[in-house]
């Protein structure tokens, strides 16, 4: 099924079309959410909400826009909402929960390098440092940087998702990199790894 056909059938309430849409875009949505929240379980939960929203509002989808642009935008917005809500409830999170979520963050990396325990630990610390640095960026810088790095989108595509000019996106990513560099340098000086 082509993209237009999937959308047309989806608007008619065809379940097979929905299944195909999920299969085609699952990776895109989960990966984008993962870039924003750095936890695979949370990313999958948010991705499911994105797909529920897709068929709730598929009738609103206009044929002149790209389905992927729409999905990226929903993934980013849902992730930002999740981060905002999570910050509020963090006060009540138990120590055990926080340990579990940290383990989940690096599960992916560790699975890839099971034969090098030293490498694992170093990489998991490195991932934590990088995620903290990315999370400390101003929101728009973080979104632009994540779309560019995790999904390898062009500035043009990011400008479509974020509804900003291409030059604004370019400037956001430039500033994001400068800020990351600054944070990584501070850490290097402190020998935090």
């Amino acid at each position: 099924m082509s993209e237009t056909e999937i959308i047309r059938k989806l608007q008619q309430g065809n379940e097979q079309a929905f299944k195909e849409l999920v299969e085609n875009y699952q990776k895109l949505v989960v990966n984008t959410c993962f870039g924003m929240v750095h936890n695979i379980e949370d990313a999958e939960d948010i991705a499911q909400e994105v797909f529920i929203e897709v068929f709730r509002s598929i009738h609103k989808f206009r044929a002149d826009s790209k389905l992927s642009t729409w999905l990226y935008r929903m993934s980013v917005n849902r992730s930002l909402n999740f981060i905002r809500d999570n910050k509020r409830s963090k006060w009540f999170q138990s120590f055990e929960d926080s340990v579990q979520s940290k383990n989940a963050v690096h599960e992916n990396l560790i699975n890839k390098n099971t034969d090098h325990p030293g490498f694992e630990l170093e990489n998991s610390q490195r991932a934590k440092l990088l995620h903290e640095a990315i999370d400390s960026l101003p929101q728009n810088q973080k979104v632009a940087f994540t779309l560019s790095k995790y999904e390898e989108l062009s500035y043009q595509e990011i400008s479509g998702v974020m509804e900003l000019s291409v030059s604004s996106v370019e400037s956001l990513i430039h500033r994001a990199k400068k800020n990351l560099q600054k944070k990584l340098y501070v850490c290097y000086k402190k020998r935090c790894i």
Binding site: G13, V22, Q26, K27, F55
Partner: protein
């Protein structure tokens, strides 16, 4: 090039985004300054995490979980979404049944049953026989009395 200048541009060097001339300057400095070279190596490793994380494993149960979530939590959506398949099949069937029923009752009403016809004819005959009886009574008889 000073170490401080290098720190400002190192990330762009690693991303190969600097003009060629500046790329060369950074390269030369890194070859001479072990401190900057070490930082460059650290930063390269840390940014390399992004590449490792780029494609998380695809969860094969994602759709099953999603469908279960929809069915459990969103009955109103389920109704809108999963039913049309069934409705599309059942609607024509229901309409056909109604149409056939309609035609059948139409025929039934329009075509009076033989029993009804008999009773109507019987009533007619009763009236006729009554009139005949009147005929048979000679009018003269009244006048004579």
């Amino acid at each position: 090039m000073k170490c401080k200048t290098l720190h400002k541009d190192l990330i762009f060097f690693l991303e190969k985004e600097l003009p060629e001339k500046e790329m060369e300057l950074v390269k030369t400095h890194l070859a001479e300054c072990s401190n900057c070279a070490l930082f460059a190596e650290e930063m390269k490793k840390t940014l390399g995490i992004l590449e490792a994380e780029r494609s998380p494993a695809v969860n094969p149960f994602f759709y099953t979980r999603l469908k279960a979530k929809i069915e459990n939590r969103e009955p109103e959506i389920k109704q809108v979404f999963w039913k049309p398949e069934l409705v599309r099949v059942l609607q024509p069937v229901l309409f056909s049944v109604l149409l056939i029923l309609g035609i059948y009752t139409g025929i039934k009403i329009g075509q009076p049953t033989p029993a009804q016809m008999i009773s109507v004819n019987a009533a007619d005959q009763e009236i006729i026989s009554f009139l005949n009886e009147m005929d048979s009574e000679p009018i003269e008889g009244f006048l004579m009395e």
